[in-house]
């Protein structure tokens, strides 16, 4: 580990970029100002989650698009982040996510900072599901925490909050439970989050959507 990681050069969208070898394509792109839609990716995770299925890119010489968060850079690689095949996959994934998203941007406190709004813009598709029938989850909103509100109906199951929760709270309060459409971020026994939470609100900072939001008058730096 003492040896410096060598850098490699690759082409992305016609632009020559450099990245440390072993870096995943997604981070190489983001570091060079090229945005690829992503929700679940976190730099400090040893293994990419690869759950959101949005960061599709096309690589020259490969038959099908590949997720940028799982593919390490290689010298001389020619990458296209705006290929039609890749965008088609990303759009379908995004539309499926939005088909069960309790869309209410005007009254959502993540309005303006929401990753979903950004992705919709980049993919040039609507936030409202058009192709797929809307199927909402109708789960209760958890207001039990003094600092933040958890609305599972706006959750995209990216798992970012689960990861940061584990880093901050040794035992980990948040996690995944149930199966299929019922799958949700929850606590042990589906109890209110307020109970065992340390109120570090790291999960709120990690949330790319409006599922975890600070309550009115509470700042992300507040500690209860």
């Amino acid at each position: 580990m003492t040896k410096d990681k060598e850098t490699v050069m690759l082409t992305m969208n016609g632009q020559t970029i450099t990245a440390k070898s072993g870096t995943k394509l997604l981070w190489a792109a983001l570091d060079n100002g090229i945005y690829i839609p992503n929700l679940c990716a976190m730099r400090d995770k040893p293994e990419p989650e690869a759950a959101c299925r949005l960061c599709w890119v096309e690589i020259e010489g490969r038959q099908s698009p590949i997720t940028a968060c799982t593919e390490p850079v290689a010298a001389g690689m020619v990458v296209n982040t705006t290929g039609e095949k890749a965008l088609k996959l990303a759009r379908t994934g995004f539309e499926l996510l939005m088909a069960s998203h309790a869309l209410d941007c005007a009254r959502c406190s993540a309005n303006g900072s929401c990753e979903l709004q950004k992705i919709a813009k980049v993919l040039k598709c609507s936030l409202k599901p058009k192709r797929f029938r809307q199927l909402l989850r109708g789960l209760p909103v958890d207001e039990s925490n003094p600092l933040f509100t958890y609305d599972p109906n706006k959750c995209v199951l990216c798992g970012r909050c689960v990861w940061v929760c584990r880093k901050h709270v040794k035992s980990g309060v948040l996690g995944f439970a149930h199966r299929g459409f019922e799958r949700r971020i929850t606590t042990f026994g589906d109890e209110p989050i307020g109970k065992d939470c340390l109120n570090c609100s790291a999960c709120v900072k990690a949330c790319p959507t409006g599922a975890l939001t600070m309550k009115d008058g509470k700042k992300k730096t507040d500690i209860a």
């Binding site: 209760p140 584990r166 035992s171 980990g172 309060v173 948040l174 996690g175 995944f176 439970a177 149930h178 199966r179 929850t186 606590t187 042990f188 026994g189 589906d190 109890e191």
Partner: protein, 178 residues
């Protein structure tokens, strides 16, 4: 939503922790032991009470929510004690076409519980199955391992009556007429 689990006395809680502990001692503290542990604990206790789940989580040094996540993911694990009588409503294709969901609704209404739950008196537990292989009898409900044919809501009342379980609507009518 919390686990709809009946209240337990301190004695019972301690017994659960003790029994889970006995099973745990035979396993290494590795994450991959989780499912075999859960299976053995469930076969001993009949279900996975929260005390057992927290004991297991502590032993394996994993967050309790991860144990809960596995338990809620697999159908084989149950969070509620089994009732004296098991009610399994078939929702396979044939039963679905014949109104299996209506039958399920009737059971839910009569027993006042949801699938995968147990009545507070521990008389009945309700669950769904995907197919029991006797589709000509649809809609089927398996009552204590015996498949019952053409279970329409009226038959639900009949089965409950046979168990000596008073049918709820009549109770209600009685109380209302009083």
């Amino acid at each position: 939503m919390t686990i709809p689990e009946p209240e337990k006395s301190l004695e019972e809680q301690n017994r659960i922790i003790q029994e889970a502990g006995q099973i745990l001692s035979g396993f290494s503290r590795k994450r991959e032991s989780l499912i075999p542990i859960l299976q053995q604990v469930q076969s001993r206790l009949g279900y996975l009470p929260r005390e057992a789940m927290t004991t297991i989580a502590e032993y394996l040094k994993v967050p309790a929510i991860d144990v809960y996540g596995v338990v809620t993911f697999y159908n084989q694990f149950r969070l509620n004690p089994p009732g004296r009588h098991s009610i399994r409503v078939c929702l396979g294709t044939a039963c679905h076409m014949k109104g299996g969901y209506i039958t399920l609704d009737a059971w839910k209404r009569r027993l006042k519980i949801n699938p995968r739950e147990t009545t507070p008196d521990r008389e009945f537990d309700l669950d769904t199955v995907a197919c029991v292989g006797c589709c000509t009898m649809a809609p089927v409900t398996v009552v204590d391992n015996k498949p019952e044919a053409q279970v329409e809501p009226t038959k639900v009342d009949g089965i409950l009556l046979a168990f000596g379980h008073p049918v709820d609507t009549k109770d209600k009518e009685k109380s209302e007429s009083r």
